[in-house]
Amino acid sequence: MTIDYQEKIPNNVGLGEDRRLRRALERWLPGYQRWWREFGPVDSESLDVYLRTAISVEAGGWANYGYVRMPDYRWGIFLAHPEPDRRVGFGMHAGEPAWQEVPGEYRAELRRLIVTQGDTEPASVEQQRHLGKTCPSLYDLRNLFQVNVEEGRHLWAMVYLLHGFFGRDGREEAEAMLERHSGDPDRPRILNAFNQETPDWLSFFMFTYFTDRDGKYQLASLAESGFDPLSRTCRFMLTEEAHHMFVGESGIRRIVQRACEAMNEHKTGEPRAHGVIDLPTLQKYLNLHFSASLDLFGQELSTNAANYYTMGLKGRFRETRIDDDHRLADALYPVPEVRGDAAVMVEAPALTAVNERLRDDYVVDCQRGLGKWNRVIRDAGIDFELRLPRRAFNRKIGAFAGIRSTPEGRIITEGEWDRRQAGWLPSAEDQAYVQSLMAPVTEPGKMANWIAAPAKGIDGKPIEFEYLRFD
């Protein structure tokens, strides 16, 4: 097989010259394409989509726009530019040169980190595969597909690491990523949050806002890794992840805006009759997705996380900017603990609490978007505020897994939870209502009634631009 590798698989990893990597990827590619056909966006093969393709890591190289049929999307492999003389930034190896090969003693741990991260990438494509049928606009449909192909590229990035650095085991793991499927009763995805379908566009926007933001924090902490190829891969992925969160943040803002418009227009506090998503329902979806995403950070105190840190494999968010010894041998960090019917903060070894610290950083980041949404509500003169629930609410993992809590963080009985949870989480009726709004709008420039138009289009194009061509 002769392939122009730079053309077919844009890369800056010397794919054309690396026989081992080439052989591995050539074998993997047909399986990947089959997976995309079977588990990627439904009925999308003949669509021309105005997509961004990364073709190099130079300025502007990661954002080349043009019409693409998704099966022909050029999934590239890119590492951020190497930092000269990069050093391990934390843990027991701090100060030593960063590793360009996998250290033998950390092989299993690194592989596990890469597989766990990599598994989420195709998972979200699978979760979202039916959404194209009910897009609120061509603009949104294009954004969905952009997110999908980039998640696909992120899988490539992880597979590159497995193929390039982990030998036979790595190849087997790469195969397995195509064999597990979201929600598959026999071979589910590794993390449970990635086994739920994304049933509607409200959920999609919530997912890209909250769950992709977890992805951002995971990637950011892997970008600190002493294993340089992982660090460089994740740094490049973060540029794309930022767009996914933009899709979520702006999508929810547009829904909020539309709800406010309808309330003011019809002078009503209950605008469902006018075919928009009311703010209390939005709050419930927010509660659900925020609490599920908090679980993705794992236990408050984690031996694995501590080991990864000490080994220099996974750091804290913006590790290099933190002013401490980057070893955490004696440092403490506050973590929540349930005592009786109250949550209290206790000091724990900071090393075992790195998950909790990452979760704290994440919560702060989540709050920013809420500020923007609430400004829209305030500007419309409506007395309502979207709030993040407290972290004790609706948790399945960690200190709060065994208790029930109100969104305000008051620990309650199972009975009270049963009586009141429909007021806090989307009820079957709420879901049916949101589902009832999901009808496709595919005329360029038109928006579904429940969502406002975006402020501007993609790549400087107008909102009416034909972001998709149906043949």
């Binding site: 027991m92 299993a108 597990r180 009763p185 026999d186 071979r187 996380a305 090393l351 075992t352």
Partner: protein
Amino acid sequence: MIEFSRHPASYRHWKLTIEGPVATLAMDVREDGGLFPGYTLKLNSYDLGVDIELYDAVQRLRFEHPEVRAVVIASNKERVFCAGANIAMLGQSSHQQKVDFCKFTNETRNAIEDASRHSGQSYLCAIEGTASGGGYELALATEHIILVDDGFSAVSLPEVALLGVLPGTGGLTRLVDKRRVRRDRADFFCTLSEGIRGKRALEWNLVDEIVPRSKLKDAVARCAAAFAARSDRPADAEGIALTPLTRAVTEDAIAYDHVTVALDRVGACARIHVAAPEEPPPRDAAGIHAQGAAFWPLAVARELDDAILHLRANEPELGTWILTTGGAAELVAAADAALMDNADDWLAREITLYLKRVFKRLDVTSRSLIALIEPGSCFAGTLLELALAADRSYMLDGAFEGDSRPPATLRPGPMNFGPLAMANDLSRIETRFLGEADKVEAVRAALGTDLDAQAADDLGLVTFIPDDIDWHDEVRMAVEARASFSSDALTGMEANLRFAGPETLETKIFGRLSAWQNWIFQRPNAVGEEGALTRFGSGQPARFDKSRV
């Protein structure tokens, strides 16, 4: 004080359900249910408390549920089967606690295999999620391991890679000896922290079957049905209740119905006395069933079992156990005959198998065992095993001055020739006279005969036969000398001398595997300040002294 009695109604960590001939023992360990404070039992990891419940369940299934022919070990936790022994618990345990814990868990795994092999109650294991370390070792003790093939579920023995110790519950032994996993593959497997999944686990015979998640139930049901079909346990029998033991514990004594223990803290020894039955046994199987837990051989087995466990766990400084008996030899012989004449009855078989396990427990106990055979004692048949299990025995030749009782005798019986085999699969008499078949035959020729001291000495059944003038000094000095030696040296010496003869899976587990493990448990690489067990969970790396010893 560590208590060994449990009841299913109060299990905290296991759920026992029975449907027809199939029982399911589902592990669902309560995180905050540790036996001691200071650790959390995450991910179905276990401590002694969890294993005591398992032991109770294994025992009750045999006696209370004759209808159960297959036992499924499974997990009620999502995506985790069992993470093995809790590491924080091991890290905070004393050396003695670690060794006792491993010994007890090993005995229970062996009891599981014993049930599969001899009791028509076969164990299988359904693994969904991760079975690591002791979790996989529990699976290895069953006869059929089903692993879900979901790209995630895996079996592993990560002790070497993660903890700097061995899989000490038979894992290494069962891999190569029982499952015949090739040694080079076993070597690779035992250095992988993440273990092996799916197809390769099957190819390497680490498991017996792989199934998709959705087919697990079917596969378990199919295997359980096949196990049930080949069982000879009766379908229509009623089980007997293992009623709570009557036990009075005071500062210096423990009293059961037939077993009493005097605790001599000054002399650092425990005197364990076992009384013969006072009544003749029932004549037939129906009578044995009617007596149930009150039937003397079963009652004695349970009391002795509990006493051994209690003394091991709670009285580590009583380094010598003095074994005595009392009562009528005829009645012990009659009880033995009741068991052997009804050997094809499920309950009689269970009782005999249980007695065998109790004496095995005695064999691997790290205490010096000295049997005293005096006038009024009753070392006959089953109870003769106590003298044969002892490291040394003293039999009074003649009578004590002023004592009108007849001189001491001992009486070999059929029970001493096979049913109560040791871990090496030989009877204690065969082990005693290893390679000397004529001596075994000479004892057999005396079957049912009351042997006086001289005759017993001639047959080699006792160590010394002092007369009443020498007796007190001889016995006193033997006990005092014993107490003066290094307890470690004694433990090692006894463990080496007790098990002459062939190696079996069990002797290797209690000899080779446990000995190496107990050595490693003492080494700085495991328990030093920077050792792997100490450092585990802290996020701090272990530092090893790399020189090979």
